[in-house]
């Protein structure tokens, strides 16, 4: 009897790991992809670099400001995870939508937000994206398709499937990417929204950015399977894995494939990428839960370094061009800091506005 269970468990494990393209298969697909990569224009390739640099320098700078006590609220940083956001968003199109989570800076910048307004928001000023009322965790950019960061783990998932339902009902041909962390897959809302999206065949990509921890909790200690993407099977939808979430081209290529699949009306997919956050969870974090060695190991896998090496090795860009981009990023970030601190605090009256829509 227990044998029966043991056999089942073994089968189950084997399947979970191999149901989806094996490493070899993945390699083959990647190889095929390698050629298509150059299909991206140089402009686009460099722009992706710019966005990654913007994220890096923006969040580094916010972190400095936090340490100086200049940020009056809670923030979470995307440093180390730049490729995971930029690669995904580079693959979607005009009019496509995203929802994000508390660690939203990466996606927000990749969605081309105005950095000045974003910095002003984080500093809490009237010129901020949300007039200083939302802060880091609630930055949205509706006109550009960013339905917003979210302070509630899993809070954006419902919005994502609803936005996808709108696209389907209005036949817009647009799709939605729902960003969340590794820890978020244990919220009930993950289950319910995945299921609803699967039976209604909604055009949504559920994207788990696995940085291996939810605050201090290793994902491996809170799921009884190896990876989050394997849960796709429970909804009869494809599950995908991006082993190197620090490789922006890997992320891009996988998303190019998924965006097409979803846009064609095949229903949702679940995809997961592996990456790492360099800083603590939030503004303060003693970090006892992970070793310096682990952090250092991951810093060696720096997404920007990887990408610059890829671009220069393949002669898609010169180091000089990349240096210029980084310089411009740093300047833009400095400008945003200046803009923010030169901006007025919101008026007391403004606190009473914007509750209800007319």
């Amino acid at each position: 009897m227990s044998n029966n269970n043991a056999v089942q468990m073994l089968l189950c494990r084997i399947i979970l790991i191999y149901a989806f393209p094996t490493k070899i298969l993945r390699k083959l697909i990647m190889a095929k992809k390698k050629t298509s990569e150059t299909a991206l224009s140089k402009e686009k390739l460099l722009h992706m670099y710019k966005l990654m640099a913007d994220i890096r320098y923006f969040d580094n700078r916010v972190n400095q400001l936090v340490k100086k006590g200049k940020v009056p609220g809670m923030t979470h940083f995307s440093v180390g995870e730049e490729a995971a956001s930029v690669g995904a968003i580079a693959a979607i199109g005009e009019g496509d939508l995203i929802t994000s989570n508390h660690r939203g800076h990466g996606q927000t910048i990749a969605m081309e937000i105005d950095l000045n307004e974003m910095m002003a928001e984080i500093i809490g000023r009237a010129t901020g994206t949300c007039k200083g009322k939302g802060g880091s965790m609630h930055i949205a950019d509706l006109d550009k398709g960013n339905l917003g960061a979210n302070g509630i783990v899993g809070g954006g998932m419902g919005m994502a499937i609803g936005a996808a339902l709108t696209q389907k009902m209005k036949k817009t041909g647009k799709i939605v990417v729902c960003f969340f962390g590794d820890g978020a897959v244990n919220e009930g809302t993950f289950h319910e929204t995945m299921n609803l999206a699967s039976i209604w065949k909604l055009p949504v990509i559920f994207y788990s950015i696995n940085n291996m921890y939810g605050i201090s909790t290793p994902i491996s200690s809170v799921i009884n399977i190896d990876y989050n993407y394997q849960r796709a099977c429970a909804y009869g939808i494809p599950g995908h894995f991006i082993e190197d979430g620090n490789n922006v081209m890997d992320v891009y290529n996988k998303f190019e494939e998924l965006v097409k699949y979803v846009r064609e009306g095949n229903g949702p997919v679940l995809v997961e990428s592996l990456t790492y956050r360099w800083y603590g969870h939030s503004t303060s974090d003693p970090g006892k839960y992970r070793t310096k060695a682990e952090v250092d190991e991951w810093k060696k896998k720096d997404p920007l370094v990887k990408y610059s090496k890829y671009l220069t090795d393949n002669k898609l860009a010169t180091q000089k061009e990349l240096d210029a981009i980084e310089k411009a990023s740093k300047e833009a970030v400095e400008e945003s800091v200046e803009f923010a601190f030169n901006s007025p605090e919101p008026s007391l009256e403004s606190a009473f506005e914007d509750i209800f829509a007319p």
């Binding site: 939508l97 929802t99 901020g128 994206t129 949300c130 007039k131 200083g132 009322k133 939302g134 609630h138 949205a140 509706l142 339905l147 917003g148 979210n150 302070g151 509630i152 809070g155 998932m157 419902g158 919005m159 994502a160 499937i161 609803g162 936005a163 996808a164 339902l165 709108t166 696209q167 009902m169 209005k170 009930g188 809302t189 319910e192 929204t193 299921n195 609803l196 039976i199 506005e353 914007d354 509750i355 209800f356 829509a357 007319p358």
Partner: protein, 333 residues
């Protein structure tokens, strides 16, 4: 047609309101558990699947969180969903989406976006379904800025207020009462019969006592008002709040100033119920100076709803008790 009315039930008024709005506006649709072929747990969507089809009368899995989240996301992006929550007690599973998301998004985004969504909740006791299926939880939502809460008490108001809720650009909690789906009244047939949100309605003018109420209790209050008039010549003014949030404070205070005597009635638990807020609002206002005596409250007892029908009935204000309190206020008995 403009002034024509028809005798119909609350149930039919709900179906009419939703159907008219769906005919009028392509972006309006209904979703919820068993709203389709089953016609809704309380029959409040009978016939709608047949008219509007599966895409606009959407049966869902038993997933209240996904239902509410999906509705909100659809609303943010241009649709106008109506959610049949069925038993209001199940709204426990929608709290994040309603309270942390829908109510706050526009504010947090600095005034961008809007979320036109209606949550239709079958509230109250009276059908023997015990403690987990009998709650009136409006007080949870009136406490949260960014949500409108309405609770009409006649079939005509149900139509006019539901239509207004659907046309409103904000999240609206709409209370309907399990015990009153069969209650009948004349309902205007005009498809543009829309009542204003945020306005109380003086259902009966009077000079002696202001009885302030809403939703399920309106019917009993009206009956009590008529009866004390006949029996004791007491002239009751009945203030039907109809919208709880935003509250029509002016209408309440004006009536209180006129009569100087106040009784508040609702079918939710007394402690922490919405009428307590109205009482507090009166007590801190300039109407305080016009009061002839205590501000009385009549509400459901602070007990989980018992299954037994006698106990169930006893816990909610009856016409008799309402009359007793009115007479107490005017020192008639």
């Amino acid at each position: 047609m403009e002034n024509e009315t028809k005798l119909m039930s609350v149930r039919d008024a709900i179906i009419m309101a939703m159907s008219e709005e769906m005919r009028r506006d392509e972006s309006v649709f209904l979703m919820g558990e068993d709203v389709g072929i089953f016609g809704g747990d309380f029959g409040t969507s009978v016939g709608m699947l047949e008219e509007f089809g599966k895409e606009r009368v959407r049966d869902t899995p038993i997933s209240e969180n996904a239902i509410s989240g999906c509705a909100i996301g659809a609303a943010m992006t241009g649709m106008r969903p109506i959610v049949d929550v069925t038993f209001m007690d199940f709204i426990v599973y929608m709290m994040d989406n309603i309270v942390n998301q829908a109510a706050k998004t526009r504010y947090m985004y600095g005034g961008k976006g809007q979320i036109p969504v209606v949550f239709r909740c079958a509230a109250g006791s009276g059908v023997g379904s015990a403690a987990q299926h009998s709650q009136s939880l409006e007080a949870w939502f009136t406490h949260i800025p960014g949500i409108k809460v309405v609770a009409p008490g006649t079939p005509a108001d149900v139509k006019g207020i539901l239509k207004a809720a659907i046309r409103d650009n904000n999240p609206v909690i709409f209370l309907e009462y399990k015990a009153q789906f069969n209650m009948k009244g004349e309902v205007p047939l005009d498809p543009d019969f829309v009542l204003p949100l945020g306005k109380a309605d003086i259902k009966r003018e009077g000079t002696d006592v202001s009885v302030i109420t809403y939703g399920r209790m309106l019917e009993r209050v009206m009956q009590a008002a008529e009866e004390v008039h006949e029996s004791d010549g007491v002239n009751v003014e009945v203030v039907d709040l109809r919208t709880l949030a935003p509250l029509d404070k002016d209408a309440v205070l004006e009536s209180v100033k006129k009569t100087g005597r106040v009784l508040l009635v609702n079918d939710a638990h007394k402690t922490g119920g919405f009428i307590g807020e109205v009482a507090a609002m009166i007590a801190e206002s300039d109407a305080f100076d016009y009061l002839d005596g205590r501000i009385l409250r009549l509400a459901a007892d602070d007990i989980p709803t018992p299954y037994n029908h006698i106990l169930e009935k006893a816990m909610v204000p009856s016409v008799e008790r309402i009359k007793k309190y009115i007479l107490k206020l005017v020192n008639k008995r």
